[in-house]
Structure formats: C-alpha cells, structure tokens
C-alpha cells in the first residue's frame, strides 16, 4: 500500500500496465517504416548537400547557385500562375454548382474529377495532340484566322497543369461550400443583399480556408510536377526536371540532384506548418452537414448551365483527344487521324509487363499504405504526446516525388536486404511509392478517427477490454467505410504515380505511367494514348467496384 501511494504521488500515466500491448508494437513498426524510408532519406540528402557545399577538393561551379535561383524562380512562377488560374476557374464553378444547382451538376462534377484517376501528364500529351504545331485545334484556329501559340514552354505548362489541377481546387471549395450555414445566407438576403453581394461578402470569406487549401494543393502539385515539364516544358526548366535529367544522364552533374533536392526540401518544409493548419481547419469533423442554401434565380441558373457545360467540355477535351488518338494511326495537321485501327490497343495489351507491374504495385502498396495509415492515425489519437509525428507523415504532401526518389536511392543504394539488392529490386519501388502516397491515405484515416468519439474507447476500457480488443472490436468496425475510401484513394494514387517511380524504377519494373511517358516522349503518341485509356479504364472500373462493394456492405448492415 505504501509503495502504491508513493508512486501515485509521483504522478502516473494513464492506463500504464506491464502487460504487452500488441497495438504499441504495431505503432512502432509503422513509425520505423516512416523514419527509415522518409525521414532518414531526406536527412541523408540534407547531410550530403552540406558535405558537397563545403568540399574543398571538388568545388562547385560558381554559376551553380545563380542557376539554381533562376530555375527556382521558373518553378515558382509557373506554380503561381497555375494556382491563380485554377482558383479563378474553380471558385466560380464551385459556386455555380453548389448554389445555383444547374441540371446534371452531379454528372458534370464526376466528369470534372476525372483527372483524379489519371496520371498528371495525360493532359500534357493531350495538349500536344490538340494545340501542338500540327494539333487539331491549332488547325481549326488557323482556319478562322487566329494564330496558334507556342505550347512548348510556360504557356503549354500552365495550360496542361490547369487542365489537370483545377478539379483538386474545385472539390475542396465545393466541400467548403457545404459548411456554410444556411442561415447566414438567409440573413444576408433578408437584409437586402443580392446573390453576388452575398457570395462576395458572406460565402467566399466563410470558405477562405478551403480556398486557400485548394490553392496550396495546386501550388505544391505544380512545384512537384515532373511529367508535364519534361514533355512540354521545352526550354522552360524547372527544379524537378533538373533533378531528374541530371540523375538519369551520364553527362549530368551527379551533385545537382542532391543539392537541388535539399533546396526543395528546405523551401517546401517551410510550408509544412502552414499546410497542416489549413488541412486541420478544412477537415470535416462533424458527421452532419449543415444544409446548403441554394438560389432560385432562373437567368443565373441558365447562365451557370451554359458556363458549366462549356467548361466541362473544355476539360474533357484531353480525354476525347487521347481516346481518338488511341484509335488512330497517324494524326497530324488534320481534324481526325488518317485511319482508325485497334493496333495500338493490341500493342499496348501485348506489353503485359507494365500492366502486371502496376497491378502488382497496387496489390502490395494499397494494403501497406492502409496499414501504415491505420496504425499511425491511431497512434496520433491514442498518444497525444506524439502528435508531432504527424508532421512527418505530411512531408510527402509537400515534397515532390522525384525528391523522395533521390532520397531513397541515396540512402539505400548498395544495401542488400534479405539477400536482395535494395535499389535493384521492386523493394525500392514499393517503399518509394508507398511513402509518397502515405500522406493522402493518412488524411482520410485521421478524418475518420476524428469522427469516433473518445468516449467509445473509454466505455470499452471501463468494461474491461484491453487496448487491442477495443481497437479491433469497437474502433475498426466503425472505420470500415473510411477504410474503403482510403483504399480507393490509395489505389488511384498508386497506379498514377510517376515522379518517384521515374527516378527509382529498377530494370524490368516500368509501370503503366512510365511506359506511357516514354512512348509519348519518343513521339509514339497513339501507342501511349492506348495505354493511357487502359489505365483510366482500370482505375475507373476499380473505383466503381470498390464503391459498389462499400455501398452493398453499407446496405447490408
């Protein structure tokens, strides 16, 4: 008794007991994975850079830093323009969809979110097909006397990134619009404010965090994009391209990828704190949505319908283009390809290796990402003292895929694991892509955990259940729909990953996006298009099946 009292006075932690807690062991496994394949590689890049900067034997060329600054400015300028254009399109579009309720809005929204399930560079080679020197739209424009514009460079990059990234901003802003309480708008209208005034003075300020989150997401995706700048950037060089081309080329300076990577880590890490605050603010924590107020103004609704239709049609152009291109032979300087054929699909399906590789990666990485996200999400919930770990899991959100690739290669080249050369096997691909996609899966899980009240676990403990039992019997069953959502996100994000894959893929491990990327950059656009269509179909069918399963499960319970 006396010892118990003495210990109590020293203060004791909650529920500490000597018994083995399997959950804690799993937290540890997940945390070690993140440290080993994310924190350590990034730290290694930073340390190596420090070494390179102060290496007297092999001094850096004097022009390197000014050159890096010029490239940095290119990256930032591109990202800023893309962000402004994306938000300028997404905000009015979201308001039109949510507030004016034009007909078929659900259908349009689904179409507009197609880029979620496609690799980012699909739109860039579609832009080449459409707006290239011999592109179909360039032809049309010249027929009516509008001169074409050069697409290789900043113009084309902005166009392709806007086509791909606008939906990300759109969905975040739409989610934000659903949080605006109906009564604030009714109050504004009752005081004589009109539609535009209410939007400008009430609604837009209310969803400011969501708009900002959308903007940041677009900005970071643009900064980290490597596929589009490689295909369509021309002489407009950006940071990820410099890293990639110096990494793969024998003529390149092997120090550049490391130094540039360290530089990107420094720039983007600054944004981490900001990004975390925004994400926490915009996360939907409450189950019940507030009702959305909609406006019944016929002429505005008609206008919204027209605009929405035109914008959706424009955003669908890339997909129409690659479908046509995939079915044609040569398509240049004409409205349609010379002839139609299925040969591209035969060849694409003949290349079973990239398809199998991609399916293998999805099959391995999806459960891996889910495991990591479920365990780390639960760890952050159960152990508030470890909340800072969330910054690590957010890192892949802000750091480009190529940088993660460089980090893992630098950290593990030459290392053998279980008798396998790490960087020459699928291991390197699995770790790089899983780490890259962990952030997205994590966000889904933490939002899911936030909806389960702490008292659920407390009730279970007080009834005598261990932590492990509480987790498997009380918490996990309530997470089931969230696990499905997380799996869908993981599947689509893994299958479309390019940045990290491009850097680390070992021989024999080309994935579908890599395959498409190489064919398009070699000018074999039709063949790449066919594989692109297959990829979209694969993800589309996969997502649809997952949705059906989760719906029927929900209906069953």
């Amino acid at each position: 008794m006396a010892t118990a009292t003495a210990r109590a006075e020293g203060g004791s932690a909650r529920a500490r007991r000597p018994r083995f807690d399997p959950l804690k062991a799993l937290y540890l496994v997940a945390a070690i994975y993140v440290v080993a394949f994310l924190v350590f590689p990034l730290a290694k890049v930073l340390f190596e850079t420090a070494g390179l900067l102060f290496n007297a034997e092999r001094p850096l060329p004097e022009t390197l830093i000014p050159y890096m600054m010029r490239i940095t400015w290119n990256s930032i300028r591109l990202a800023l323009i893309t962000t402004v254009v994306c938000v300028a399109i997404a905000l009015p579009l979201a308001i039109a969809i949510a507030k004016l309720r034009p007909p078929f809005r659900t259908g349009w929204t689904v179409l507009l979110t197609l880029p979620f399930i496609t690799p980012p560079f699909i739109s860039s080679f579609a832009v080449i097909i459409l707006f290239g020197r011999s592109g179909v739209l360039t032809q049309l424009m010249e027929m009516v006397g509008i001169p074409g514009f050069p697409i290789y460079g900043l113009n084309g990059l902005v166009l392709t990134q806007v086509l791909h990234l606008t939906p990300y901003a759109l969905l975040l802003i739409l989610a934000g619009l659903q949080t605006v309480p109906k009564h604030t708008e009714e109050a504004a209208l009752s005081m004589g404010e009109g539609f535009f005034g209410t939007m400008r003075r009430i609604v837009v300020p209310y969803i400011y965090p969501h708009i900002l989150a959308g903007a940041v997401l677009v900005f970071l995706s643009s900064i980290g994009d490597v596929g589009a700048p490689l295909l369509i950037g021309g002489n407009y060089r950006v940071l990820p391209v410099e890293i990639y081309s110096n990494f793969v080329s024998f003529l390149g300076d092997d120090r550049i990828p490391v130094i540039f990577s360290a530089w990107i880590i420094l720039i983007t890490a600054f944004m981490l704190f900001f990004v975390k605050r925004l994400l926490d603010k915009t996360e939907v924590k409450h189950k019940a949505r507030t009702e959305t107020f909609t406006y019944d103004v016929p002429w505005l609704r008609r206008a919204a319908t027209v605009v929405l239709t035109l914008v959706t049609a424009f955003f669908m152009l890339p997909y129409v283009a690659i479908v046509i291109s995939s079915l044609g032979t040569v398509w240049a300087s004409k409205l349609l390809p010379n002839a139609f054929t299925l040969a591209n699909y035969q060849r694409a399906l003949g290349d079973t290796q990239p398809i199998l590789n991609s399916m293998f990666l999805v099959a391995v990485i999806t459960p891996l990402c889910l495991f990591l996200a479920v365990m780390l999400g639960h760890m952050l919930r159960a152990m508030p003292k470890l909340r800072w770990f969330d910054y690590f899991t957010l890192l892949p959100f802000v750091i480009p895929g190529v940088v993660i690739g460089v980090g893992i290669i630098r950290a593990y080249s030459g290392v053998t694991l279980f008798g396998v050369d790490f960087t020459a096997s699928a291991l390197v691909l699995v770790t790089a892509v899983s780490i890259r996609r962990l952030a997205q899966t994590m966000r889904v899980m933490t939002a899911g955990y936030a909806r389960i009240d702490q008292s659920q676990e407390e009730a279970s403990w007080s009834l005598g259940a261990s932590n492990a039992r509480t987790f498997t019997r009380v918490v996990l069953p309530q997470m089931r729909p969230v696990l499905f959502a997380g799996a869908v996100i993981a599947i689509t994000k893994v299958i479309t990953e390019l940045g990290a894959t491009l850097l680390v893929y070992p021989p024999g491990w080309r994935t579908m996006p890599v395959y498409i990327f190489f064919y398009v950059s070699e000018g074999q656009i039709a063949r790449g298009s066919a594989m692109g269509v297959l990829l979209i179909l694969l993800v589309g069918v996969g997502t649809a099946v997952a949705n059906l399963i989760s719906k029927s499960r929900r209906a069953a319970t």
Partner: protein, 373 residues
C-alpha cells in the same frame, strides 16, 4: 458494493489545477452528486476514479484498495457517459454483452444476465435493435444496462441526462435512483443542474474552481450554505454584501444602507459578510407587517405569473432589487407592477457568512446588480 475514499487528490494539466486537494468519502450504497459549473473539476474527478485520467497527487481507494495506478480495465467500475458512448456497430444485446464477453462469462449465463439487465432498464423488447434505431433516452438506458451488467463495484454517471429533453430527464432520473437503491450500488453522479442533484442525491458535493466548497445532504446545503457561491448556485436567492455587528445575541447587518437583523450563527462573525435571503422567505404586504421581523419598503418593478406562484422583483428604497415569490397567488396578496409594497423576512431566514477570497467575484456581481443564482 463498495466504499470510495478520495484523499487529498490533486489533478494538474500542465500549470492548470483542475482539482485541488479534494477529500471525500462515499459510503457503501450511497449516491453522491458532484455539482458545480462547467470547468469546476467534477468530471475530472469522475474520470480519475474511472482511470481515464491520471492522478497528480493524493490517493483514491475503493474498498480500501488504492486504485491510483490501476488501469481502467482492472477497476471494475461502470461508467455512463453524457453522449451515451454506445458502440455503433453492435446491437443493443451485443453492447450489453460486451463486458461479459471480455470477462469470458459462459454463453448461458451471459444471455441470462444481458436479459436481466435489459429488463432492469425496461428495454427487454429492444435487444435486437441497432443503436441508430433508438432514441436518446433509450440509448442512455442501454448504456446504464451495459454499465450495470458487469456488476461493477461503483457506478459513475457523467452528466447522463444532459442530452435529453426535460420530461425524459425527470423520468430517467427517477429510474436511475430506483435502480441504484434496488441494487444498493455506490454511485457518483456528476451534474451542473442543481435541481437534478437535489432530487437524486443522498449527499451533494458542491465544487467550484477546482475545489470542493461544501458537502452534505441536499437539505443541509440548501438551508445552510457555507459560502456566497453555494447560496447562489443552489436554488434562487437574493445575495447581499453587508457589514455585520453582533449585539445582544443577534447580528445586525447593514446591506448598503438597508438594516437587517439576523439570528447569530455559531462561530460569530462580524465585519464584511455576505447574506442570502431566499425569494420564498420574503412575505409581500401592502402595509408594513407588524410582527417584529425585518421590513424592506420598496416598489414592485416586475412580475411574472407562473400559475402555482407569482414571482416578482421589489426594488428597495435604497435601490437593492429583491426577488420574491408569492405561493398560491389565488389566495394571497399580489401587488401590481409599480405599486408600493413591503417585504418582510424573519431573522432566522437570513443566512450569512464571512466573505472569503472565493466569494469576491460573485459579490462583485451583486454590487453591479447583475442577477446571480
């Protein structure tokens, strides 16, 4: 069935003291309420007993066993939460059976005990239902059955009625009290509702700003508040800041120019005091009453007719507002708004006490004529 001893318990969150030097004993089979405004430390105390919050200093015992370092799983206490905390993915039966499954109770016995527990709370017909098909009151009764079925040593109730509507609240409150008596289980009931605490408890512990201010039976606390806060928090009252002087066995109070005579209390006090006069102890008359009590002349500023009583406010000539109640208005004198009237109060109906540091905020409100209590 157990006795709870809380001895000099302290809880700090960083620099914030949530519970300060709390000592309280709860006898076997007793129901004690922890009553106080939000942030007073009552829920924290309950959570420390449940093992959901660590204890910074002091000891908590159940039946003599120190439970400070015991994890919640090993304490064998039943908790009922404000938000029910019913497991969403399990049926009513499965929820109630959960604690028995953990304890590896054989299936036959488990089924019998779940049935008994559901019968006890009147939900025997709803065992197969899912939580989403139940109302708030039903969910809270499931939670009660789930907490009781494991035969806990102690039942902890954390504002269990706060999310329910008024009629249901009274109904369930009675049911909780009946079940608790029937089983003879020791229970702690946390609430911020003084009426709820008065109605359900054997004893009440009033807490404010991390400290227990007073404890006793509802009657003791209502009739003999120890501080201005308790007087104002438990029931409605007129709180006055006054100066006291003792003469010839009575205490004379000077409440801002208003002289009052009160019966002296043990431990004679003089100097700066607070005084409390309950609204129902003020008798309202058209002419000054001649029975030798205190007479407060003034004007009626406000009246509300509530059927069984009329409640009103009389502003004394010195400018102090007094809340009064006239029971059975059908048979009693009721003044009109704006009328001149007299309020009289017997010396023994005035409670008072020396002003302590913790009384100052509430007396400051009285000075600014902000209504309290």
């Amino acid at each position: 069935m157990a006795e709870i001893r809380i001895e000099h318990v302290e809880k700090r969150f960083g620099n914030v003291v949530a519970v300060h030097d709390l000592t309280l004993t709860i006898a076997q089979g007793e129901l004690v309420s922890l009553l106080g405004p939000s942030g007073c430390g009552k829920t924290t105390t309950l959570r420390m007993l449940a093992g959901l919050e660590s204890i910074t200093a002091g000891t908590m015992r159940i039946d003599g066993q120190v439970i400070n370092d015991l994890p919640p799983q090993d304490r064998n206490v039943g908790i009922v939460f404000q938000d029910y905390a019913i497991f969403q993915t399990m049926s009513v039966e499965r929820n109630v059976a959960y604690g028995l499954e953990v304890r590896r109770v054989p299936v036959d016995e488990r089924r019998r005990r779940v049935g008994e527990a559901l019968e006890l709370v009147g939900l025997e017909a709803l065992g197969k239902r899912m939580p989403s098909q139940l109302s708030g009151g039903q969910l809270q009764r499931v939670a009660l059955a789930r907490a009781l079925v494991i035969r806990p040593r102690v039942l902890l109730l954390d504002e269990p009625l706060s999310n329910l509507d008024a009629a249901l609240r009274q109904n369930l409150r009675k049911q909780i009290r009946t079940i608790q008596r029937e089983l003879g289980i020791t229970a702690i009931f946390v609430t911020h509702d003084q009426e709820e605490a008065m109605s359900i408890s054997d004893r009440i512990a009033v807490m404010n700003t991390a400290k227990m201010i007073q404890h006793g039976t509802p009657k003791e606390i209502y009739e003999g508040p120890r501080t201005a806060f308790v007087a104002a928090f438990i029931g409605k009252t007129n709180l006055l800041a006054a100066r006291a002087s003792v003469t010839a066995g009575e205490t004379r109070l000077d409440a801002g120019g208003l002289p009052l005579v009160a019966r002296s209390r043990d431990g004679v006090v003089s100097g700066e005091v607070w005084a409390s006069v309950r609204p129902q102890d003020l008798r309202i008359t058209a002419e000054p009453a001649a029975d030798g009590g205190n007479v407060i002349p003034g004007r009626v500023s406000y009246l509300e007719y509530l059927g069984s009583l009329v409640r009103g406010e009389l502003v004394s000539d010195a400018g102090t507002p007094f809340l009064f109640e006239v029971p059975n208005p059908q048979h009693a004198f009721v003044p009109g708004v704006g009328d001149r009237a007299y309020a009289s109060v017997a010396p023994q109906a005035i409670t008072f006490g020396r002003v302590e540091e913790e009384d100052r905020p509430i007396l400051e409100l009285v000075r600014q004529q902000v209504p309290v209590g």
